[in-house]
Subunit: 360 residues, 2 copies
DNA sequence: CTGAAAGCGCTAACAA
DNA sequence: TTGTTAGCGCTTTCAG
């Protein structure tokens, strides 16, 4: 099996023309006499000729494919998450792990590639790897690519950005070539915090998130700004080191202890850096007998579908995820078409979405 | 910009070795003395060398990429669908169009490619095109591919299947090379129909679906079998020609008229071939003042997330969509590793999911 | 309008 | 262990 594929040579021989004519018949129809073209196309069809993209890419210097690099761990969702699911409804169980942020952004990327007639290559960074290898592999295959933040060491990205258009999502740099697409993390988190302060008259708020991560750090900044604007003290972020769900239990215990202690010092609300950690936290709190929003308010960030599917509906900040992805591709294609275009750094607005987890 | 990428020649020159040694240093480390290898790697790093996948693919004859071909119309969801959304909650509105069947299957495909260390190429068939071009383009880029049913004319698929492993999803053929992954459409639809007949004691049921489509035809067969088993007459399928939502309104009117007519002949339940059309039908009925399940029962098929997100929760049959995708990739990789392996045709089981739309 | 031929960058015999 | 070299299949000048 896997019979040899027909090549231009085969087609040329069969049609009684040269390989150049075969190539032109496909790519530059106007440069070939109609009857010759017919003959070539017929021969190609009879031989089931399929041009090799490798050969074409090599000769032409472009692949007409774009790449997307994602975290492997996000691809293969940790089993712990599913294990934590209620287990009664297979469809809802699945909603916990799909679609997440990366999936929705990916959908926008796919859509936009299709619209522009580009193929899309998707690669995942293996858990525990630096990402440099997966990145190089992908970069060798495409004309331009979009990477999720923290999949690839910045220096590697920077170097590559001199050779091809690259968009890094949800991150920023002063690199003269790297493009970025972000959302208004700070404004969104500030508005959310302000909602808890103004509408719900809460005063003792906590922030849960990993401030080592660029966008989560920005969200913390928004949280802090809202508190400072009211002369309230800003607590340190409660960090969930690795995977959200894993550490949510620990944070829930911390909160539970303080909730059980002096009334006056007990936290009244938690602003979470992501929906994932917010949902995990609500679960963990509920396991400890603490009700949200009854005993404490919780808010999220991202606006993933799961935030609407589980109860209480999460009060959160929605990112225009699909738009993020399609915008990234637009930037890449612009730069492919106009190589001298300057780098771009676009920030998209976010939308607060009020649910019940804040007490509304 | 887009400075020229470094090549093996550059690296070889810099490291003072031949290009063969550079190649070996990367692909066959054991065939190169460690210190030579070090030197090559260092040179490669200094030059930011990234191997060209095109050149490699051409020379080696494999790309280490797999392809997935989807319907373009499924990628760029028709706007009509979003227009029909309630418009109050941006997150829920989106749940109407994402994730659908294709997205969940695609997730399984992605996951499995990543697990096996393959890149994934995604292409969409432009609306109105035969798919043959998009298929050829994709086939020229990958080692093997999975296509959704009806994206590509069967003869084209058949011819290509002689050259490379191909899985066609949700379809069947007697082709000696083409692989297929399907689900138990007939059994699932039969069980669903039986549920309406036995639990709800309904007798006058309708089927809505496009029997021109392979899997929907099978579902109709299951519906018919359940009715026949009870000596009930089998009505013709109410077909929604093109896009589900577009025609749901027409079908809803048909049902409404009959519901308004003689009690004894009015339909009591509708078994839909897909969740999409079921949800659209419920919407359309509701616009006409008909309540589901109060006035009439409606069931779906697929188990997309939207079936759980909207009210009434749809009684439906869930396909193991992610598994479908990953199984397809497993079959491809098996056949890439063992070219003489026979074609495979695997049918996966389905799970009834009881919601409220049937009256439960 | 068509043909000849020189690469594109890498791999893998085969030689050394 | 390393170097030489002949392709892989296509595009694209340059001649005719």
């Amino acid at each position: 099996m896997t019979a040899d594929r027909a090549t231009v040579y085969d087609v040329a021989a069969r049609a009684g023309v040269s390989t150049a004519t075969v190539s032109f018949a496909f790519r530059r129809p106007e440069k070939v006499r109609p009857e010759t073209r017919e003959r070539v196309l017929a021969a190609a069809h009879e031989l089931a000729y399929v041009p090799s993209a490798s050969a074409r890419g090599l000769a032409h210097g472009r692949t007409r494919a774009l790449g997307m690099l994602v975290h492997g761990v996000l691809l293969q969702r940790p089993e712990g998450v599913l294990a934590a699911a209620t287990g009664t409804d297979p469809i809802l169980d699945r909603a916990r792990v799909f679609p997440l942020y990366v999936d929705e952004v990916g959908h926008g990327v796919e859509l936009c590639c299709h619209r522009h007639g580009y193929s899309l290559l998707v690669n995942g960074v293996a858990a525990g790897s630096s990402g440099a290898d997966a990145f190089a592999d992908l970069a060798g295959r495409v004309d331009a690519l979009v990477v999720f933040r923290d999949t690839v060491p910045r220096p590697v990205l920077r170097t590559m950005a001199e050779r091809m258009p690259i968009v890094e999502l949800a991150a920023a740099s002063r690199d003269p070539r790297l493009c970025h697409v972000t959302v208004d993390d700070t404004g969104g988190a500030r508005a959310m915090t302000e909602h808890l302060l103004a509408e719900h008259r809460l005063r003792r708020l906590e922030f849960v998130g990993d401030v080592a991560v660029w966008d989560q750090r920005r969200r913390f900044a928004g949280f802090a700004a809202a508190l400072r604007a009211r002369d309230l003290p800003v607590p340190a972020a409660l960090s969930h080191g690795g995977h959200a769900r894993h550490h949510a239990a620990r944070i829930a215990e911390n909160l539970a202890q303080r909730l059980a202690g002096t009334r006056r010092r007990a936290p009244q609300g938690v602003v979470c850096a992501t929906d994932e950690v917010a949902l995990a936290l609500i679960d963990a709190l509920s396991h400890l007998g603490i009700d949200v929003p009854g005993d404490i308010a919780v808010t999220g960030f991202d606006g993933i579908l799961a935030s609407r599917v589980f109860r209480p509906a999460l009060t959160t900040v929605r990112q225009p995820m699909e738009r993020l992805g399609s915008l990234a591709i637009d930037l890449l294609i612009e730069r492919l078409d106009h190589p001298r275009l300057a780098r771009a750094a676009v920030q998209l607005p976010v939308t607060p979405v009020i649910g019940n987890s804040c007490g509304c």
